[in-house]
Chain length 266, copies 2
């Protein structure tokens, strides 16, 4: 899905919601087997319940890798079940020397056929550029993350600016707003206005609303640009809205609530 299509989808659905499929077998409703197959069936039910209100799905690779090779198959089947009307993100936080990053790009862009992958910037240019060579695919680089550990290195003062600002500026010069996004946590609301001024045109992937405590209203006010310019992810708040038989209806309701609030900001 390219930038024009993504913006069009957001405008049509009046939603910039991304549903995070961080599916933990231990947290499935009792009617599901706590296996790879149970995860797949649960994902299908969540996707059916949220398809109309979200524009993107984010697959957190860790939860699938913990199930071994079967988990990898479930990721592939989940991507296939979502189809091509949603923007699909592999939240994989990869990044390595050039020839290895190229293999990761092949794994997710060619083999699994997702639209985007999250990448860590620590190793610099040759760890990120191979991802940017795939046409109509997106690289989502960690900027300022939502977790408490963001303070350890991302906020270090480097030559007068926090590390994450160097990341935003330097990585921006390697790609463009049609193949590059940044992760900016919803818990970092105080920094959002400044981040938007550094990257006026890029999309942001914004986790941290819901279980992590970020405010959708505040983020929407500070992050929006003329093309909307961001996706807000919610995972646990939707997946585990209910642990009973009504889990899918409960997930749909939470997603609808997010979409309804988002439509007021658009």
């Amino acid at each position: 899905m390219n930038r024009t299509q993504l913006i069009q989808t957001i405008r049509q659905k009046r939603s910039y919601l991304c549903v995070g499929l961080d599916t933990d077998p231990q947290l499935l409703p009792v009617s599901f087997a706590r296996t790879a197959e149970g995860v797949l069936q649960f994902n299908k039910a969540i996707i059916d319940a949220t398809r109309s209100t979200c524009v993107a799905y984010k697959i957190n690779t860790a939860f699938y890798e913990s199930l071994g090779a079967h988990g990898w198959t479930v990721m592939e089947k989940t991507v296939g079940y979502i189809g091509d009307e949603h923007f699909i993100i592999a939240d994989a936080k990869r990044g390595d020397i050039g020839n290895t990053s190229y293999q990761y790009a092949t794994a997710f862009f060619s083999q699994m056929n997702v639209d985007a992958i999250t990448v860590s910037p620590y190793m610099g240019e040759d760890s990120i550029k191979p991802f940017l060579t795939f046409p109509d695919k997106w690289t989502i680089v960690l900027g300022l993350t939502s977790n408490s550990g963001a303070g350890d290195f991302e906020l270090l003062n480097c030559d007068g600016a926090p590390l994450y600002e160097h990341v935003l500026r330097k990585v921006s010069s390697w790609g463009n707003p049609s193949n590059l996004m940044f992760v900016v946590g919803a818990t970092q609301a105080d920094s959002f206005t400044r981040i938007r001024s550094i990257c006026p045109d890029h999309f942001f992937l914004v986790p941290g609303v819901g279980a992590q405590g970020g405010s959708l209203g505040e983020i929407s006010q500070k992050a929006m640009n003329k093309d909307v310019g961001f996706l807000v992810n919610a995972s646990r708040a939707i997946l585990y809205a209910s642990s009973e038989a009504d889990f899918a209806e409960a997930a749909a309701k939470v997603a609808e609530k997010y979409q309804a609030e988002m439509s007021t900001y658009l």
Copy 2:
């Protein structure tokens, strides 16, 4: 494999060689199918050829993920084939918020049963600590890497010291020399003496000898401590020593050459 066992293995074999299984199906000798099964058969031949001269194997997850779910199965089977007399590293460069890092740790330490995993430090403490909670398992955090992109962020001057020094100091305080190592590239020889003074007791995983041009002699002189304290990885120089039918003998010879040189430094 715990620290005592690792040091004992190094002393017995007079080797601190790690063989990197970055197996690219496109580079297999012609007698192998360019498939997941071909990769597994090639890995087995390389392992048999190098078992006696190396103390560790490093599996680069990217090359297996690019083969999809079958690739993940090949990783698992490769780990099983290596057995428990070698130190096994998943070179995965993972790291995410706490509950997600815990899932990655489960994937590699419990499900795949490797000894160690490489982790990126960008997201800070809660992205690394979950890996450190698994007994007798190791977390290998990126310090100063071997690639050209290391200069982009790792060497940024942050409050008077390069970023990677902050990483070494801060991450050291979260673990100990029995569950924590650092990646330090062999191409960074100028910095090795200083890095060893910051982390006198930690093991280093040192890639970048061979295809990337680092000097084994210089690194060995600067990195060695009383417990040896480092593993030197070679991947392409061993895997692709010959592309003909004699590939395994050629791989064995290169590994023996490394081991022979290492034994002179011990």
